[in-house]
């Protein structure tokens, strides 16, 4: 009913009025009652999402944790949550940002930051297909890109993006992980002259685009070069595939270059742009020495599985290309009305823009774009960057797709799926003919959507997941704040079929999914003790001890089911700082031990088998303080405890430690 209403409104009203009307319609009707939706779901839905106890899901789904700053890992089709991987935000449960070893991962040029807003998980690719090696994610607030190793599900690298603000169009990868891109959502002044009036936006503000190189062997990231883009808001990105593989595409809005009330002032023009960047040519210009050195400090943090520790490195130089010096490197394709998503179909020929205020979905043609560049079919320029004529790079438009197109993913049968925020639906259309073939309502107000492998050359076109912005009545209510809501649809037939609602953490801006077989069999189960290079590791009970260095006490502690060595410690005095270096001697899968000590102004530690982690503890008062294992480890877990005695400052109690005496 809702769709029909919207369609008739759509036909009779102007575009803007239509948007407003449907917004108010949404509000007026309000959400439907949760219990009344069963008619929408086919009778076989339950069996399609049922994964029997002890059985595995077919796909891993990595969802952005949004404003939680993390990544959450789900199984599809069940929607079961397996793990929350701490990335940009501290996580007391796992000691992330609390252990001495993990603190450097959160270091930035602004100091240590305990939180960020994570948006887009992106799988590493080999030949344009997810390879299950890494997942990357961007930090939107303090611009960074993180890499998660999928053998350990641990964040192993975070690189800060200098000269940038609001790293939104990120971290999309090229066909073989040559580069991971980053970009500026909020253009800002860069370089030497930073203290300028905000009203001098047009003159002084720039939108920097960044290319992070991924070393083929080590998998290490490094900032390769940056491109000084015009002062637009860069929104999203995707890399080309096949023939278009050497190009990246970025959507821009606010081509008006407004610096206030963007809601109205950045929606003045009929068209903004998709910016096409030839990164291969940029590479060549860098090799020719066209990059200018800038000296903005940024941090590059790396985790080492051998030392079980992170290192934060302050870097100070970056190479920046100015499009004025680099002909042929960048072009602008006009794209209707504040485009959000830019998505490249599996062949690499079609580039789909999604103007969130547009009444059409423009589909650009890579081959037409190249021809237009060759014959210079331009219509003006922005800061020396040629604007290609719209018709000259356009393959066609999807007419009247719905309201508020945001993102598009693809299946393996030539269809595209576009999320419609305002009309709250997924629209399926034929990529070659641009005809709409099906639509399915979402509950409510879909943002991103995801087909497993749906931004790659080989999508697994079995499901589409709607990542919704509004939850309302879909679940049992939990006060003013509700869970976030994802919905799973079967797309194996002609018609999309809703199968399942499942809750997610934070706001899942985007997600990616991959066949479980590409990940599950290469999991690290334990860290080998003999490979542990942590400087404070005690690799056997014989090596456990307590040492004093001035007012620092270093406890070399081990855990094994179910005792600590040592478990009686005396001789610590008020004013001392105690470092608990805990090595888990277990070499068996799924036997972490936890460590907590009374009064720690800190979290627990959760130490994986073979790992060493350190908790800093500053005793606050004289007394005997217990420490214990927080992660149930055996029948005698409750006995896994110890005592540390804290004496007054200046006390003569000798420093001793013991076990079983």
């Amino acid at each position: 009913m809702k769709n029909k209403n919207q369609k008739s409104i759509y036909r009779t009203m102007t575009m803007v009025f239509g948007v407003l009307a449907s917004l108010s319609l949404l509000i007026a009707c309000g959400p439907k009652k949760g219990g009344g939706e069963s008619a929408m779901v086919g009778s076989d839905a339950a069996s399609k999402v049922y994964v029997a106890p002890g059985s595995y899901d077919e796909f891993y789904m990595f969802a952005s944790g949004g404003f939680s700053g993390q990544i959450s890992v789900y199984g599809l089709p069940s929607g079961r949550l397996f793990r929350v991987i701490p990335v940009f935000s501290v996580d007391a449960e796992k000691g992330w940002g609390f252990s001495e070893e993990s603190k450097p991962m959160l270091m930035t040029s602004y100091g240590s930051i305990p939180w960020d807003d994570a948006h887009h998980p992106e799988m590493s690719m080999t030949d344009g297909v997810p390879d299950g090696r890494f997942v990357f994610i961007n930090a939107n607030n303090t611009p960074r890109v993180a890499k998660i190793d999928l053998t350990t599900f641990k964040t192993t690298e975070i690189i800060e993006i200098p000269n940038s603000a609001g790293n939104h169009p990120s971290p999309f990868v090229t066909e073989n992980n040559e580069y991971i891109v980053a970009g500026t959502r909020f253009s800002v002044p860069v370089g030497a002259n930073l203290d300028v009036p905000i009203s001098s936006y047009k003159e002084n503000f720039k939108g920097m685009i960044s290319y992070i190189k991924l070393d083929k062997e080590s998998g290490n990231m490094d900032l390769a070069f940056q491109i000084l883009g015009p002062g637009f808001n860069f929104d999203l990105s995707h890399s080309g595939k096949n023939a278009s593989r050497e190009w990246s595409f970025f959507t821009c809005y606010n081509s008006e270059q407004a610096n206030t009330l963007l809601e109205a002032n950045a929606s003045q023009k009929d068209k903004d742009f998709i910016m096409a960047v030839n990164w291969k040519l940029a590479e060549k210009y860098i090799a020719e020495g066209k990059g200018k050195v800038m000296n903005t400090p940024y941090y590059h943090n790396r985790w080492d599985d051998a030392t079980h520790s992170a290192t934060a490195t302050l870097k100070n130089t970056q190479l920046v290309l100015d499009p004025k010096d680099c002909p042929g490197m960048i072009y602008l394709m006009p794209c209707p009305k504040s485009p959000h998503g830019v998505d490249v179909d599996p062949t690499g020929e079609y580039i789909v823009g999604a103007g969130k205020l547009a009444t059409v979905i423009p589909v650009f043609s890579y081959s037409k774009m190249i021809k237009a560049i060759e014959k210079k079919a331009f219509d003006g320029e922005v800061e020396g960057i040629p604007i290609i004529k719209y018709e000259e790079c356009l393959a066609g438009e999807v007419k009247k797709p719905g309201l508020g197109p945001l993102h598009t993913e693809f299946d393996d049968k030539g269809f595209a799926y576009t999320s419609m925020f305002v009309s709250s639906e997924i629209v399926k259309w034929n990529v070659a003919t641009r005809e709409v073939v099906d639509r399915a309502p979402t509950y409510y107000s879909i943002g991103h959507l995801m087909v497993p492998g749906g931004d790659s050359k080989k999508p697994w076109g079995k499901y589409v997941v709607a990542l919704n912005k509004i939850t309302k009545d879909r679940y049992l209510p939990t006060g003013p704040e509700l869970t976030q809501s994802a919905q799973l649809y079967d797309i194996s037939g002609d018609k999309m079929k809703l199968l399942l609602d499942f809750p997610t953490i934070g706001e899942p801006h985007y997600a990616q999914a991959i066949k479980a077989d590409l990940i599950k069999d290469k999991q690290v189960r334990v860290y080998k003790l003999e490979d542990n290079k942590h400087p404070y590791a005690a690799k056997k009970e014989k090596d456990t001890r307590v040492e004093r260095k001035g007012n620092e006490i270093h406890v070399y502690l081990t855990t094994i089911r179910s005792h600590f060595s040592p478990d009686n410690i005396e001789g610590v005095k008020l004013g001392d700082v105690v470092y608990w270096h805990v090595t888990n001697l277990e070499q068996d899968w799924d036997v972490p031990h936890g460590f907590a000590v009374t009064g720690a102004q800190n979290s627990e530690l959760l130490i994986m088998p073979g790992e060493t982690q350190t908790l800093k503890w500053i005793p606050q008062r004289v007394g005997i303080f217990p420490f214990y294992c927080t992660d149930f480890c055996s029948a005698l877990h409750q006995e896994m405890q110890g005592y540390i005695r804290v004496s007054p400052a200046g006390s003569a109690t000798p420093l001793t430690s013991s076990l079983g005496k």
């Binding site: 080998k528 003999e530 014989k542 001697l585 070499q587 068996d588 055996s634 029948a635």
Partner: protein, 161 residues
């Protein structure tokens, strides 16, 4: 081959009976397994194979090899000593006299394959009932395990720890 078949029969019986054991003491989930378990144990008489269950079916023992002893001692200290001593019971049983109590194959299978041993071997199960902490695989190779065995022989022969 023969041992394998016996082991399988025994294994079934033991798995079922161990379900019974766990559900009886731990209040485990499903009461259905209790019934099945009981009937199976009635049928199969436990057959004790003193070599245990695992990859080791025979071990050749010669003169005590001091190089192997030294290597075994090193692995033992790193991977085993947090739970086992020779003089007293600790997390697990005292290991003094182990080579007299058990066949060398049993010792190596217990080190290399503790999970299956606890599932299937009645002696390993009895030990679990006594000590209540499951012995775990400590990520050791077959060579390292053979060296640990040599170290045990050395201790039982009156050698120094």
């Amino acid at each position: 081959m023969n041992t394998n078949t016996i082991n399988r029969v025994l294994g079934l019986a033991v798995i079922c009976s161990s379900f019974f054991f766990f559900s009886a003491c731990g209040g485990s989930e499903s009461p259905a397994t209790e019934g099945e378990g009981t009937s199976e144990t009635e049928v199969a008489e436990p057959v004790i194979t003193d070599k245990g269950v695992g990859p080791i079916s025979s071990v050749e023992l010669g003169e005590i090899d001091e190089v192997m002893v030294a290597r075994g001692k090193n692995v033992f200290e790193n991977k085993c000593s947090a739970c086992h001593k020779f003089s007293e019971k600790y997390v697990g049983p005292s290991l003094a006299g182990i080579t007299e109590r058990r066949k060398p194959e049993w010792i190596m299978n217990m080190i290399l394959n503790p999970e299956e041993m606890i599932d299937k071997d009645p002696v390993a199960q009895e030990l679990l009932e006594t000590y209540l902490t499951k012995m775990t695989f400590q990520d050791v190779t077959e060579d390292q395990t053979r060296n640990i065995l040599e170290y045990f022989r050395h201790i039982d022969n009156g050698g120094a720890e």
